[in-house]
Structures are given as structure tokens and as C-alpha cells.
Symmetry: C2
DNA sequence: GGGCGGCGATACCGCACGGGTATCGGCCCA
DNA sequence: TGGGCCGATACCCGTGCGGTATCGCCGCCC
């Protein structure tokens, strides 16, 4: 299956074999066997190009999910076994720089519980929490709707907040009591920065490129960009930045999420604590 | 992994091997290899009994999910390939005897769409829709909250309705304009029937045993039981049965659900049609 | 148009892993 | 203390997977 996913992604047996660290002939035969076993033609080979059939597209989606599931099984088992003193730790993942206040309250409250499991914190980029939960690198996540997707996860809502525009402190708009989204999106000389997608490339278009929140804030302080962010980030603004409420921007909901089949006691405890802290 | 799940469920190498159709020694070695590969002790063998370690319990949960995922991959691919004329069909699963009116409307509306994919209908027992979606026997399901769980599924709400008590036509309560839950639950001589769990066994306690809706309705008509069910079932009541609203019973929400990673065009079409039909 | 090069399939070979049978070793129980 | 149960080990065998060499096909370019 790993083999098939590699070929389906590369659409090229040679490169796929290279990526898998095997030679090309065994790969060809493996795919052939898979096709015979499933009694399905997965790839159309036309001597110049390899294309996915409809069945192949189905298998690609499903096989990715299946591989993630077995990776998750291996990783979680390894973690459970290697945990010191039989105390199974939980890995909590969230976007770097987001919800830091809530996070601090949650970690403090959880640490204060009797017989609390250890919590390992894992910070990631935007939109990476879902894959991390699915492939077992993490057990629980803090997500921010509507930016993150909760597809396939169990969730509990924690809190909602409005958004603010982050501007250079000296900017004319920084003194306003509030702004509309339209006021901020088209500012000459203050474009929204671009973020790298999951594949590491930046979308085309104008705007400076930023890799994380620190870079973003620095760009704004330098007067090269502006941004719209949840209110709670006001507590971590550095000098040279101003925040102005944007009432018509969508409200942001922070939720705690976990893969539905892995509701271990430790995860359930953490979720309960999170709800208690925010209610 | 299949091997480990078998042993973990049987807690007995001999029986597990038998269930898997292999001999016991290869099974022992396979588990040993797995433990070495994961660097984890999964089972405690004490010459008289086999018990799961904490890591073993984690792997059992995760491995079940992973196995379901690969089963799903195989099944869906097989279906996609064997579909006649390259027209990928969708399997819609729902509880036998539930939502039949909505179902009819949905199927009619969908068949009337241009270029609609074929829909295979699959009826199942209570609470079996989740596993069916997860292991690929079905692609979309109609669920009824709060009876079914939507954990790990993407859903769209379709409709909500109150519940009614189903009583023998001649029963004294059958003439009332409405009832409370408490009026129905403790009726002498009219207990709630018991349903078999997923493992096929009946919970202990009083009440006749029923295997499906037909048996249930017959039991009620015979004056041996009563039941509380969603309003929509009134349209399919046979003679000898009466339905009385129960305003304080929880309202039932019918949702359409699908596994999040498998949002194929055909599934998306069906979901859209379902929303249109019920809005 | 013919030679060339790229690419997937096939042929053939060796090893290693998964499966089988026979047997051992520890433990409970009679 | 011996028998029976159960998992582990020993040993053997076949299949499957991986490797190298080579073929067949088809665009491309000189």
C-alpha cells in the first residue's frame, strides 16, 4: 500500500521506487500483485505516462488514511511503552503562538489535578494539527475554527472571541476605535503576508512571506504588513504594534479535539479539565 | 496486527491461532517480532494466563482502527473497480425500518438528478452504521441522534422530530392526547423490549426480546410490550397499534454522515440532495 | 526514417521471512 | 509427584520479496 501511494503520487515508477529505497522491478510487480488481489486496474500505463484510474483514485484516498492509521498505532504504542514509570503521557499539539493564555491555564489546572498524566507540548504550523492527530504524533489538539478543520475528530468547544487588526503602532488607522475588514485588506503598502502551504511553497500573489508568528509580528512592526488575528493575541503583542477590534471579522472558536477511537482516560481527563477551565 | 488483535481479544494464543487459521507457534513468534519491532511489551504471559499491558491496550484500540481502515480501502477499491460501466455506486446504510419516508424522498430526488451515481441501499441493525462506514461496507449513512454516535464522522443535520409512544390499540393510555416518559416506562405488563447488543447477546433484565422492528411491532400489537419511537414511524404503523405523543422524550435528529476522508463527488452529491430535500 | 533514450514489464536468482511439526519448560492441580 | 495445559523454542520447508539483467514499446531528434 505504501508502494501504491508512492506511485500514485509520483505517477512514475522509477521515481517512486527511488523514494521507497527499492528498485523499480519489484515495485512494478508489487503493484501488479495488488491489482490482481483487488481485481482492479489501478493505474493506466501508456508507455509515456502513468495515470490514475477511478478505482486508483479511490484507493489513493483510502490508502493514505489507512497508512496514517497504522503509523498512529505504531507511534502511540511506542509512546505508551516508553513512557517512564508506566505513566502514559499525552501529547497536546497546538499552533505555535496561538491561545497561549488558555494553554497556560489549562496546563496549570491539569498539573494541579491529582494523579494527572504528564502532558508533552508540541507546537506546529498552521493546519498541521489534523494530520498530527491522525498519524499518532499527538493525542489532543487545540484548534481554531473556522481556520482549522475538525473533520473526523471529536471536539468540545472551549471559547469564542472576536478578532483584531494588528497594525504598526504609528499607522493612521491604529488610533481608530474599531475597523471593518475592508479597511484592512486593501491597504496600500500594508498587504497581508503569505503563509507557506503544507507542501512548503508559498501561494502566488503580493505580500511578504512569513514562516511563523514571530516573523509576522516583526514584519508588521517594520511597517511592511498588517494582519487580522484573534483578540487573545493582544496579551503577547510586542512594542511597536497596535491592535484594533474588527467587529465584522468572523469570530474565532477555540475547540479541543481528539481522534474518536483514542479516548483514553488521560485524554478524557485533559478534555474535562479544559472545559472546566473555560466555562 | 490482525494477529495481535486476535490474541488480545482471546487472551489465549491457542484459541487465537485457531481463529486465525494458523498454528500456535507462528503466532507466538509473530507477536514476539511485533514486540521487538515496537520495542514494547504488549502481553504479560504468566504461564497460566495472558494479560494486556498498558501499551497492549493502546495498540489494541489503535490496531482495530487501523485494520478497519485497510479493510475499508480494499472494499471501496473493489467496489469502485467492479462498478458496471465505470459508474461508481454509493452504498447508503440506515437502520432497517427507520426514516423510510425521508429515505424514499431522498432516493427519488437523487435518481432524478442528471448524471446521478447509483445508490445501493443497505439496511442494518441498531448502531451498526458506524462500523459499516469505517470498514468500507458503506459510504454514507442516515443516523438518528441521540441513539447513534457520530464520533469520527462528518455530518449534516437533516431534520428533527419528537417521539411518540407505541401502544397496543386497546390500551387505556392509547386514548390520551399525550403522555410523559414516566407514564410509559414503568407500565405493569408492558415492559420495554430488549435489543441484542453488537455481540448478539441480550442485556439482562425483564422485557421480551426483539430482533428487529417487525418483531417489536408484533410484540406491541400482542400486548406484550410498548415502545417510544420517532414520530415519523406513525406512517408505517400496522393495525392494532396506537401512537401517542411524548413531549418530554428527547427529540430525535436525523443526520446524514460519511467518513471524512472519503468525500467523493458521488457522496457529496447525495449529501447535497439530502439537504435540499429536507430544507 | 532510423537510432537513441526513457520507461515499464519480464526473466531469473537468492535470501529471508512466514508457516508447519515436534518438542521443551514452567506452572497449576490432582 | 505426575499429568495436562500452554506458551516458547528448534528445525525444516516453501513462498514472497528484493536484486540484476534484459526486453519491448514508443516518442524524439538528428
Amino acid at each position: 500500500m505504501r508502494y501504491f501511494v508512492a506511485v500514485a503520487e509520483e505517477l512514475h515508477f522509477g521515481r517512486a521506487a527511488q523514494r521507497l529505497g527499492i528498485a523499480q522491478p519489484p515495485l512494478s510487480r508489487a503493484i501488479g500483485r495488488l491489482e490482481r488481489r483487488l481485481k482492479a486496474v489501478l493505474l493506466e500505463r501508456s508507455s509515456r505516462a502513468v495515470t490514475l484510474t477511478e478505482a486508483g483514485a479511490v484507493l489513493l484516498r483510502e490508502a493514505r488514511a489507512a497508512l496514517e492509521a497504522v503509523e498512529a498505532a505504531e507511534r502511540r504504542t511506542r509512546r505508551a511503552a516508553h513512557a517512564p514509570a508506566g505513566q502514559a503521557g499525552v501529547v497536546l499539539v497546538t499552533k505555535a503562538g496561538a491561545s497561549s493564555e488558555l494553554l497556560a491555564k489549562l496546563l496549570d489546572a491539569h498539573a494541579a489535578e491529582p494523579d494527572a498524566a504528564g502532558v508533552d507540548l508540541l507546537l506546529c504550523g498552521m493546519g498541521e494539527q489534523g494530520p498530527m492527530l491522525r498519524d499518532g504524533r499527538a493525542d489532543v489538539a487545540l484548534l481554531h475554527l473556522p481556520f482549522d478543520t475538525t473533520a473526523g475528530l471529536d471536539t468540545e468547544e472551549l471559547c469564542t472571541e472576536g478578532q483584531v487588526a494588528i497594525l504598526p503602532a504609528g499607522h493612521p488607522l491604529a488610533g481608530r476605535p474599531h475597523l471593518r475588514t475592508a479597511d484592512v485588506t486593501g491597504l496600500p503598502g500594508l498587504p497581508m503576508p503569505r503563509w507557506p502551504g503544507p507542501d512548503g511553497t508559498y501561494p502566488a500573489g503580493p505580500g511578504p512571506r512569513a514562516r511563523d508568528h514571530a516573523q509576522l509580528l516583526q514584519l508588521i512592526a517594520l511597517g511592511r504588513a498588517c494582519w487580522i488575528a484573534p483578540e487573545s493575541c493582544r496579551t503577547q503583542l510586542r512594542a511597536g504594534l497596535a491592535a484594533v477590534p474588527v467587529p465584522d471579522a468572523p469570530t474565532v472558536t477555540t475547540v479541543i479535539a481528539w481522534p474518536p477511537h483514542s479516548r483514553s482516560r488521560a485524554v478524557a481527563d485533559l478534555v474535562r479539565t479544559a472545559i472546566r477551565v473555560t466555562s
